[in-house]
Amino acid sequence: MAAEHPVATPAGDQTRIHNIGYRAYDGPRLGRSYATRSLYSQSLRGAYGLGRSVKSKVLPMLLFVVMCVPALIMVAVAVATKANDLPVDYTRYAIIMQSVICLYVASQAPQSVSRDLRFKTVPLYFSRPIETADYVRAKYAALASAMFILTAAPLLVLYVGALLAKLDFTDQTKGFAQGLVSVALLSLLFAGIGLVIAAVTPRRGFGIAAVIAVFTISYGAVTTLQAIADTQGSTSAIPWMGLFSPVTLIDGVQSAFLGATPSLPGGHGPSDGQGVVYVLVVLGLIAASYGLMMRRYKKVGL
């Protein structure tokens, strides 16, 4: 086509660019924070399979139900037998259900980030007004919120049930508040670790296995060593070992400051000084996972 119309037209020709009616967009620009919020809400919905296919709703919903059913049973038992207290502490519940929580974070963290990496949609996000920090913050906040919903819902069931069973109001409220603080910390910590691992690999299956391996192997290793230390009588070393696995970290923090009974062998909870170390390590890990995510996404897809 271009050959038929010579480019060099004689000067003074009536050359002009036709106006074919394209119009500039002059509506409101919703901007960076709106895009971040959208990414957050989409990721949060995605973590429960909402807005995705039926098949991908099955697993998160199933895990959510599995989390809540034992709480319902406990409440039913407490109401029926007119017990003076719930069979399980609020802070204890998440530790008992840890394998469900680990499975949830392992299945949903890669869902949230690995697919963006694999289908190379991350550069598309960054062609919008959002920046690296916005993407990381939105994904982190979304997964942490999803985990908080997962872990706080059974506590709410327990609390409402406890009030219905006319248990002591101040006592239950205090326990519930402590439980909420503990699961909030747990959500932030688990979501951070899960996302950092998942963000490394674009393969979803491999991400799931890697996340679950980190959680279960570290927990298995730490509890085995603690049990051995307990039988050997070197009890002073037991709390320090708890620093090396996410589940025992949360357990240590809540038994030091949130009135939980430690699940360490022999009931050797951390002292106040060790509790401070536990809190520092938890906060440090949360900050480190945020920092690692930021580093990972600095030059992703470029």
């Binding site: 995705r52 296919s53 098949k55 991908s56 697993l59 394998s99 499975l103 392992a106 299945s107 289908f119 393969r203 979803r204 299956g205 491999f206 799931i208 296995a209 890697a210 679950i212 391996a213 279960t216 192997i217 298995g220 290793a221 085995t224 060593l225 049990a227 051995i228 230390a229 039988t231 050997q232 070197s234």
Partner: protein
């Protein structure tokens, strides 16, 4: 029944780049823990048995089995590149069998070998504990690899289902409901280990005959059915 090219491609998919490092991290951790325990406790048969049974056989072997078993076929089906393999004049059961061999080999190298090393470090094979658990790890490697390879051909969420079986069924239900233990690869392999090593430290809830029969049946059936699944494989889009 064995195709070297398919085997080479599968090895590369399983151990390529950083994946071998991550697979290698687990055995290294086990060996590191054994060294620490040996230094702390000294050679103690009960401790060695607890550590190998609780950490190596109950956690490490299934997880490596899931990674190797589903990783041998899952990603290929996931990204659709399996059609290039299926369009070659190779029988589908041959593909499955080759991938099974590779998955078994990888699982054995990354789980049974470190178990043996850890056992030797822990108590120098006292009361045959190291050998017993190594046999258990070898046997369960075969069954896990076959089982999880089948899962890889059946479901897109093979890793999750595999982990649910390994962690929730075997660990959680196995400790609560004793009936669940009869249907657990871990217990079957322990029965074989008990037969090999003798002694009272390595025990199983399942008899040796039942265990062997179930192990063979599960492995053969899973491999056969995976071959059948691959013959009628339909490729679905991403979600």
């Amino acid at each position: 029944m064995y195709d070297p090219t398919v085997a080479r491609l599968t090895y590369r998919a399983l151990l390529g780049r950083r994946r071998a490092l991550i697979l290698g991290a687990l055995p290294l951790l086990l060996i590191a823990i054994s060294v620490i325990v040996r230094a702390l406790v000294g050679a103690d048969d009960q401790t060695a048995s607890d550590l190998l049974g609780g950490l190596a056989l109950a956690t490490m072997v299934p997880i490596i089995g899931v990674i190797a078993g589903t990783g041998a076929i899952g990603p290929e089906i996931d990204d659709g590149s399996v059609v290039y393999l299926l369009s070659k004049p190779i029988k589908r059961p041959t593909i499955i069998f080759t991938k099974l061999i590779v998955a078994v080999a990888v699982t054995m190298v990354f789980s049974a070998l470190p178990t043996l090393v850890a056992g030797l470090i822990l108590n120098g094979n006292g009361q045959q504990i190291a050998v017993a658990y190594t046999v258990a790890a070898l046997v369960s490697s075969i069954a896990y690899a076959a089982l999880f390879l089948l899962l890889g051909t059946v479901s897109r969420h093979a890793v999750v289902f595999g982990l649910v079986y390994a962690l929730v069924w075997e660990a959680l239900f196995g400790s609560l409901v004793s009936g669940a233990r009869t249907l657990s690869v871990q217990q079957w392999s322990l029965a074989v280990a008990h037969k090999v090593a003798g002694g009272d430290l390595v025990t199983s809830d399942v008899g040796i005959v039942t265990a062997t029969v179930l192990l063979v049946v599960v492995t053969v059936l899973a491999t056969w059915y995976a071959g059948q699944k691959l013959r009628t494989l339909t490729l679905a889009g991403e979600e």
